[in-house]
Symmetry: C2
Subunit: 305 residues, 2 copies
């Protein structure tokens, strides 16, 4: 499935002349999507979004939309970023140097595009903004880091019933202190093969920048986890391992050993999708953008998200 | 509809011998309920709860369940309190003075009742706890005060799509400062007839103890509103009026005049149910309970909630 999507992405993100790259900031309720990536006959964020763009722009076929974090089925987003290359006739012809009337016309066209797209998208997919992307911007390869959040309730009698949609209900009480000790073992640049589905030609080395659990309410535990990038299902496998430490079924020695074996084993449960939210993706300033893009491509062959 | 429910409630809440009064603490997602109160052929909280109690207790017919705040269709609760009188054979025979084996047997029976009831209730109706009610406890008449919360988003592009269930999306930007000035006009003991549906024989004098708006996030405004009791749809009518002040369509003079005319007029919109949550109901200590009950009954004839 992931492979299939990759084939759709242009090897060289340089835009054909006559096209303008647009950055889309998105939020969605993942419950009724099969995830970001297109799957034949299924309702994916990518497909719903591309179809809506084609509809309002009167394109002959849905455009390719590339995102920063390819979320799985049921995973939510409040900080998803994507890019799409559209004919200048749709979003205005002005280049980055445009001034005066030319710039105004382009801004108006883009505002109209944003307004129309927001109006046709379904209720569970919200366009936060559509902007002209800076020179060299690529939603996936320009990203500096991604931040996810995971929400767990370990006393289901106290959970607001309308929050079951974005909260994992866990049947054992969790020790947030122990989970933070587990988190400390994970932070840093490491080979996370133990927590990733192996893919040929792809490295599983990632840099976890921050992993921290908190208790925003007595019945809730919440994780904030930030990395340069994550492998497929890596966040949820890490959450699963930390939950097992938090409920006392596993200890830190086990986690340490498991991390170091560098092969995914049956010992780790992938935590349910509903608790996970793609919270934020960070990018460099416009000036540093082009440089960053070539750097990332060179360092990691086919990073996932 | 309200009248009909009232008829079901025993005029004298003193429990027949052989029955035990149980206090139920409840949370629910109001989206798929027609509200608390039973309505023929509809899915109400009262009916679903009573049917579940009858099922696990093998009662010949659903018991009467009385709540502290009769929420409307679509209104949520995280702090609803109800009481129900059940045969001692179901929840244990021990009186308040029971000790030793007798008390243990009763506690076990009640725990079993709580466990079973929680298991059969649907996902959108959560039993937080079932306890033996203190002497003289009445979910409605013993309540000291009720607190509600209302959640509004005035920038829909920034709302987490999975929070549409408990958030009103408002199309105009809101001035929380102005709404708090409006709130200050409302606090105190007043006749809120302008914000209530008139009912024969019922007073519309209520004491608003606290009304305060805050901005927990840049795109959100949240109200906390506390009163001894509220008339039917009073909270949502007050919210509607304050929103009209917050968006600049009305001013404080208008609110002041409207409040003082003491007749409900077409000038006030009842804000949508989805944003409203019954947050908490406060009761006196067990010792003060019996005294409180007779006091409330005397002061307000048939208070609503």
């Amino acid at each position: 499935m992931v492979e299939e999507v990759l084939k759709d992405e242009p090897a060289d993100p340089t835009v054909d002349s006559g096209f303008v790259r647009v950055r889309l900031d998105l939020a969605y309720d993942g419950t009724d999507f099969v995830g970001w990536a297109r799957q034949p006959g299924q309702r994916s964020v990518q497909e719903v979004l591309a179809a809506a763009i084609a509809q309002i722009s009167r394109l002959p076929k849905p455009p390719i939309v590339t995102c920063a974090g390819r979320t799985d089925a049921g995973v939510h987003a409040r900080g998803q970023v994507a890019h799409v290359d559209l004919p200048a006739t749709v979003v205005g012809r002005a280049g980055h140097g445009a001034v005066g009337v030319e710039a105004f016309m382009a801004a108006t066209a883009l505002e109209q595009f944003e307004f129309s797209l927001r109006a046709v998208l379904p209720r569970d997919l919200m366009l936060q903004s559509a902007q002209r992307a800076p020179e060299g911007f690529d939603a996936r390869f320009s990203a500096l880091w991604r931040r996810y959040r995971y929400r767990v309730c370990d006393d289901r009698t106290q959970l607001d019933p309308w929050r079951r949609r974005d909260t994992l209900v866990y049947s054992r009480p969790l020790d947030v202190g122990a989970m933070n000790e587990a988190a400390d073992l994970l932070v840093g640049q490491r080979d996370f093969a133990s927590f990733c589905r192996k893919r040929k030609g792809a490295t599983t080395i990632r840099t976890l920048l921050n992993v921290a659990w908190s208790r925003p309410a007595p019945h809730l535990a919440e994780l904030e986890i930030t990395a340069d990038a994550f492998c497929h299902s890596m966040v949820r496998a890490l959450v699963g391992a930390m939950l097992n430490v938090g409920d006392g079924r596993r200890d830190l020695d086990w986690l340490s050993e498991y991390l170091n074996r560098r092969v995914r084993g049956p010992g780790v449960t992938v935590a349910a999708a509903r608790g996970l939210v793609l919270d934020h993706v960070a990018y460099p300033s416009a000036a540093e953008m082009a440089e960053r893009q070539s750097l990332t491509r060179a360092r990691r062959f086919l990073p996932e998200d």
